[in-house]
């Protein structure tokens, strides 16, 4: 999976990059299944691997982008990126050196099925749920406005 992630950022061709990202999302869904989050795994495949990546590929094809030709590599960018990533991994080692102990306060049975995940949306998380719906509407209107040829 991490190899896929590396290939996403290392590939010159955006289409191949996008396809590796699809593979990454599918692997991620597999990890979610291993973590017994079945509903989220299904959502992951449907929304990410399905909708979002189709959108990405659609835009790539629409814009007809050539694979970035081998021009001057921006050494500053590469060195900076690698340094930041290595610093992050170093920090990770420090933080995760002592094993992180999970709290043991939760309910004993958690299976991540549909009922258990969805029920709080209609009880405890009603307001955020509605706000998310509003946000999606606003995003949709914004996209339509942005895509119009000339807004006067």
């Amino acid at each position: 999976m991490l190899l896929c992630g590396f290939l996403v950022i290392a590939n010159r061709n955006p289409v191949a990059s996008a396809l590796f990202l699809v593979l990454l999302f599918v692997f991620m869904a597999g990890l979610f299944v291993l973590l017994e989050a079945f509903f989220i795994a299904a959502i992951q495949v449907l929304v990410y691997a399905g909708a979002v990546m189709v959108l990405f590929l659609f835009v790539i094809m629409l814009l007809d982008i050539k694979a970035s030709e081998r021009r001057k590599l921006n050494t500053v960018g590469i060195v900076g990126g690698v340094v930041v990533a290595l610093a992050f991994v170093w920090e990770l080692r420090i933080v995760l050196g002592p094993a992180v102990k999970p709290l043991t306060s939760g309910s004993a049975e958690l299976h991540g099925g549909l009922e258990q995940v969805v029920k709080p949306f209609f009880e405890q998380y009603m307001l955020p749920f509605e706000v998310t719906a509003l946000l999606l509407l606003v995003a949709m209107i914004g996209v339509v406005l942005l895509s119009k040829r000339d807004v006067k």
């Binding site: 991490l2 990202l21 979610f32 982008i65 970035s68 992180v100 991540g112």
Partner: protein
């Protein structure tokens, strides 16, 4: 036995890869893909915590993250398309000024 630490480590590595991608690449579309990788790394950490703490709230937060990521991708891609119409390029190098 795979513990919480293993999942967190994978999540952190994926996040580091995403950051490196955002900084290194200059194609705006690929930068967006790397951002998606970052969001997914965060999702993995949330779900791992949710599993090992036996609380369902983490998965609910992941649901919101996915919904908002979808909205964000739609808006971002629309912006990139508008930009391409104006500049005929998606390289962030071409964007020297905020004016279109």
């Amino acid at each position: 036995m795979i513990t919480l630490n293993h999942y967190l480590f994978v999540s952190g590595l994926l996040f580091a890869l995403g950051i490196a991608g955002v900084i290194i690449r200059r194609n705006a579309l690929v930068i967006y893909m790397a951002l998606e990788m970052n969001l997914n790394a965060a999702n993995l950490a949330l779900i791992a915590f949710s599993k090992f703490n036996k609380i369902v709230d983490g998965q609910i937060l992941v649901f919101f993250v996915i919904a908002i990521a979808a909205a964000e991708v739609a808006v971002g891609l629309a912006i990139i398309v508008a930009l391409y119409r104006r500049k005929q390029s998606v390289s962030v190098d071409e964007l020297k000024t905020m004016r279109l």
